[in-house]
């Protein structure tokens, strides 16, 4: 399984690039919409950039289940095997 800390760090960079949020604010328990104020369209951008960075596929129907940063990290870790 891929290193979750590395995935979190990589994901935080993607979020910073899309939203301007500091990478430190991107923590596992944070909700994308509630805590980080990321809307559905920014989320799509983040997902596509994550697919590219971690070489995984995150289907449209899966994106709805990624409520927190932790959900996304776990999904990417499992998908990356």
């Amino acid at each position: 399984m891929a290193d979750k800390n590395a995935i979190l760090a990589g994901l935080a960079e993607i979020v910073e690039e899309e939203t301007g949020l500091e990478t430190e604010e991107v923590q596992l328990d944070k909700s994308f919409t509630e805590d980080l104020d990321i809307d559905s369209i920014s989320m799509m951008t983040i997902v596509v950039n994550a697919e590219e960075k971690f070489d995984v596929k995150i289907p449209d129907e899966e994106v709805k289940n990624l409520t927190t940063v932790g959900d996304a990290v776990t999904y990417i870790a499992n998908a990356a095997g």
Binding site: D39, M44, V48
Partner: protein, 350 residues
Amino acid sequence: MTATLKPTNPVDATAVLGLGVYRPSILVDNEQICQWIDSSDEWIRKRTGIVTRHRAPADVSVVDMAEAAATEALKDAGIAGSQVDSVIVSTVTHPYMTPSAASDLAARVGATPAAAFDISAACAGYCYGIAQADALVRSGHAKHVLVVGVEKLSDIIDNHERSISFLLGDGAGAVVVGPSDTPGIAASVIGSNGEKWNAVSMDNSLLRLRDALFDAQTSGDASALLDPEQKLWPTLRQDGQTVFRWAVWEMAKVAAEALEKAGVAAEDLAAFVPHQANIRIIDELSKQLKLPDHVLVGRDIVDAGNTSAASIPLALHRLRAENPDVSGGLALQIGFGAGLVYGAQVIRIP
């Protein structure tokens, strides 16, 4: 002995010679939209950039709009209607399956007996039209081609539907393409992703409406016709997320390919005029293409909404009106939409 065929007289280069538009008179703002669907001005602005869209009155037809835009384009090009030998209208809202909008338009602008036909390529229709016009002129089949992108989308939407109707507006844009000493239209990239045929589409075919009418007439029971829930008049629907992902990340590759085919880089552009589908798509595409600051970006969507085949010439026209210096510079234009289909090319702005 077989006779030999006379060769055609191809020309080396083509250019866009003139540009014209028509913006319908009715303005629909987000407040009005929110009377029809559960939404808010803030949501629509933030997710799409749209503040208003224009819609045409009932007595203004697709061909009326096309004629107004074409008349301005011919004047801008300094070409008489009688000098036009091909008329191409890109539209999905001409309400007759036949005859074409183009043949009516050709007669109205005095272009008979020009070749006349419509293109059904939705939001890519204008770029398909430019590709076609460029090929007709270069091959020697035509000297001056009138290309019009025109839509009266208000005829094929359901205002109470939430996936696409709130984005759409009506309008027309036209150009004249003709021969040129130096290349003014670079090679086009045109293509389709038909496996996504359903991503933006009408919710039903017209045959369903015909059958319901026939049933009512034969049975004498008109209840199905009168039931609004039956939604017999076909209207547009979309899967917004699928289209968004495709529009940004697949279209960025198509746009890059168009630059490569033109032999120019992003720095060489004066303007980027993508189809006006969503400001967030426009911004993300601009980012992916790493456009330098001096490149002007078409953002007509804010006031005009998404006008499908008309959106690129409308946005280009506005960009040129607001920045006259851009004339003579290079513009990368890219259209994409229902099909899914796409088209892109670099042109020199008239």
